[in-house]
Amino acid sequence: MSDIVRDDRHTAVDIKNLEVTFATDGGDVNAVQGVSLTVRSGEVLAIVGESGSGKTVTAKTILGLLPETAVASGAVLLTGEDVLTVGPKRVRELRGTDVAMVFQEPSTALNPVFTVGWQIAEGIRAHGKVSKKEARKRAIDILSRVGIPDPETRVDYYPHQFSGGQKQRVVIAMALVLNPSVIVADEPTTALDVTVQAEILDLLRRCRDEFGAAIVLITHNMGVVADLADRVAVMYLGKVVEEADAKTLFADPQDDYTKRLLGSVPRLEARGHQAAPSADAEIVVNARGLEIEYPGRLGRAGFRAVKGVDFTIAKGQVLGLVGESGSGKTTIGRAIAGLTRVTGGSLEVLGVEMNGVHERDFKPKRAEIGFVFQDPASSFNPLLTIAEAVAEPLIVHGRAGDARAARARVDELMEAVQLPKAFGDRYPHELSGGQRQRASLARSLALDPALLIADEPTSALDVSVQARVLELFAELQSDLGFAALFISHDLAVVNLLADRIGVLFHGDLVESGPNDQVLGAPEHDYTKRLLASLPVPDPSEQAARREALRALTRQA
């Protein structure tokens, strides 16, 4: 299908002085301010930036996908035509044939009530007269080319019959099927597990090499950039602050912002030996053969999320639990906090056996457990001020009569998490994600807990904000000496904080041990694969790691 041979220097997209303004309730917002970029065929341009930097808006303009509230000026030349001025009919013709998009969340980008073959054929038949048979043939062909095994059968499958990574392959197949000159990939691997991410990045690399497409890759993950990009544009507050080819950018960043962005990416390097807690240290959490099963529907077996896991957390120790989605790591955290019922084995939390526990018996212990949730947006009641929310634990456990009486302690806590006292009078939506997550930390520490459970506390945050929250977490942990369970999918993040690491895979604890041992000399195949899949923000090192991963997969 790649019969059209393209000149390497051929410009696929040329964005000239693009400005995009949104009308919102709070007045106009200039999301993109004078951005100029070019992408050539057979090249991957990565647009990197944190949330609100305008990277997604810039990329969506290439497809003419701006909402009605937006006004764009400047020019976006797509193979010589200005997308902003050609009118909706021509833009519709361009989509698919000249420019295609790969979305972030493959499960929502596919329509669940149609087969994937139908959805791919729909794109083909929308552009030109193609018979159903012919469209189906081309759908099968493209599915095999993106690496879906047995495409003749699976072309008739519905989206839910594919795994997350395969769904993303189907989405990429849909983008490739009309052989577009440009593919816009908006965070194509963010919703995927790290081992799957490596496969999808490989596939995108093949899109560039075999199909000769230009790829505009939008991402916040510097590791992904290092893995795939040829050239990188760094965006900040609607402007491109730096543009360079990938090797130069990582080796010698010019702009201050780029330097700081690169500096805050957590790296997988040894932290030196951890002081092992003395053997007679008090055990805070003790799990023996812990099993957790979610009840199934009537007549069906339940789902066993955790299948017999053993671990302990000693006083003052940080245990990191790592695993991909569905590995049961969050379930374990929720079980310790008493949010999910334990169905088998034994889980002792602060001396209380959680298997068959009554809320009445566990309630006094709740004062000694703090919990930091993943999503800072929803973990605060939107109608309470931060101070009121932080005071909640104090009021519930009778340490203070009302929010005003607790204010002194609240101010103290706000100071501990490095938030200005005045923020206490703000409402959650008036704080940024990082600030909210720090307030969440303050709330969980209000009662001086013996145990803190942090469930992916930084996965919703930008990388520079994540670095500061992690730093704060480590500081508070060493000052206050609480034991902690730190749950994350990101090995590099866990490495920064944990004394011991447990690796979960499909509900089994496949490996656990001191930090250095698990990351430095992993024994289990899965741990090895997990480690090798993690992209590092250094193009040449990442190329070497990619080879290592390939060797590892071939062995398996």
């Binding site: 949104f22 805050s264 709740r366 939506h429």
Partner: protein, 347 residues
């Protein structure tokens, strides 16, 4: 997320601009604003008419004679009776003005009762779940299955035996409307409670050890009531229609106890054939106008609450000057406002 923010964002504004309708009025533009203002004006006219009925209406609602003697029957509009008189000899203008009082009183009783009962049941049912939830949902569905007017008639007969005094009539009409509306509030609040139950902030207070009652009333209830003003206004207009239907069918309030548009329409039924238009047109127009006004308010509130339906002033093409700071302060996370979340730009 946008709806969450929109409701809480004006918290720092003066109290009067945070009131439900005023806040929406300030945010609206164009046609939506026109609809909202029209609705508010119509409602205000009726509200003032109801409050000042004793001053505005020249005669009482049940008055059949004055110093000059008995009123004529079916008299056309004249200087004495500007909208004429009915077959029973009542002054049409006075009846319409007093009728506003009855209508609004019934709406208030019906809405307060159904909100109280519906919200409490919905909250308990949604948050606690279990067998109680199932039973309540089945009952609510069963009530839905009845034709609402039939249900209202049955309830009104049970309560007052059909006709009754002013207060009794109003309460009876209010309760019969309530029975029809409770399932609606129940459903909405229950759905919200079920959704909020799994929100992180509810789980977080569970982890803290808050009692169930505290979680329900402090965290769930206050977040579950957001869409109530919308249903409330839409139901209010339905309540007016139900009341009028009850009155028309003869299950409302008697002419000597209070003025009631539906009853007047019923009495005007035979007049239409003989060309006496004024007895029917005015109460009918009153019903239509009040329903229209309340519906306009309700519909515009509905549109304004949804960020996808809300129209905004079009963004202007940007001039050279930019408002956002270009200082690349990475280490310091940005407070929403300049770039990330324009909704909260009050930082």
């Amino acid at each position: 997320m946008t709806t969450t923010l929109a409701a809480a964002k004006d918290r720092r504004a003066p109290w009067f601009s945070r009131l439900p309708i005023v806040a929406q009025l300030r945010r609206s533009v164009g046609l939506q604003r026109g609809m909202l203002i029209t609705g508010i004006v119509i409602c205000l006219v009726f509200l003032l008419g109801a409050i000042f009925a004793p001053i505005i209406a020249p005669y009482g609602f049940g008055q059949l004679s004055d110093d000059a003697g008995s009123f004529p029957r079916q008299a056309p509009p004249s200087s004495d009776h500007i909208w004429g008189t009915t077959v029973g000899g009542y002054d049409v203008f006075s009846r319409v003005v007093w009728g506003a009082q009855t209508a609004i009183a019934v709406v208030i009783v019906a809405v307060i009762l159904s909100v109280l009962i519906g919200v409490t049941l919905g909250l308990v049912s949604g948050y606690l779940g279990g067998w109680l939830d199932r039973i309540l949902v089945v009952i609510a569905d069963a009530v839905y299955a009845f034709p609402s007017l039939l249900l209202a008639i049955v309830v009104s007969i049970v309560i007052s035996g059909g006709q009754s005094s002013l207060v009794g009539g109003i309460v009876a009409a209010g309760i019969s409307i309530t029975v029809v509306f409770v399932p609606q509030y129940f459903r909405v609040v229950r759905a919200e409670a079920v959704r909020l139950k799994s929100e992180a902030f509810v789980e977080s207070s569970k982890v803290v050890g808050s009692s169930t009652a505290r979680i329900m009333f402090k965290h769930v209830l206050r977040n579950a009531t957001r869409s109530l003003p919308l249903i409330l206004t839409l139901n209010a207009s339905e309540a007016i229609l139900t009341l009028a239907s009850l009155g028309f069918l003869g299950f409302g309030i008697g002419p000597t106890a209070a003025a009631e548009w539906g009853y007047d329409l019923n009495r005007a039924l035979s007049d239409t054939a003989s060309g006496i238009w004024w007895t029917g047109v005015f109460p009918g127009a009153a019903i239509v106008l009040l329903v229209l006004g309340v519906t306009l308010v309700g519909e515009s509130l509905n549109d304004l609450a949804d960020p996808r339906l809300r129209t905004r002033r079009r963004a202007k093409r940007r001039k050279a000057v930019t408002s956002a700071s270009s200082d690349p302060a990475v280490g310091d996370d940005k407070t929403p406002g300049s770039t990330t979340a324009p909704e909260g730009g009050r930082a």
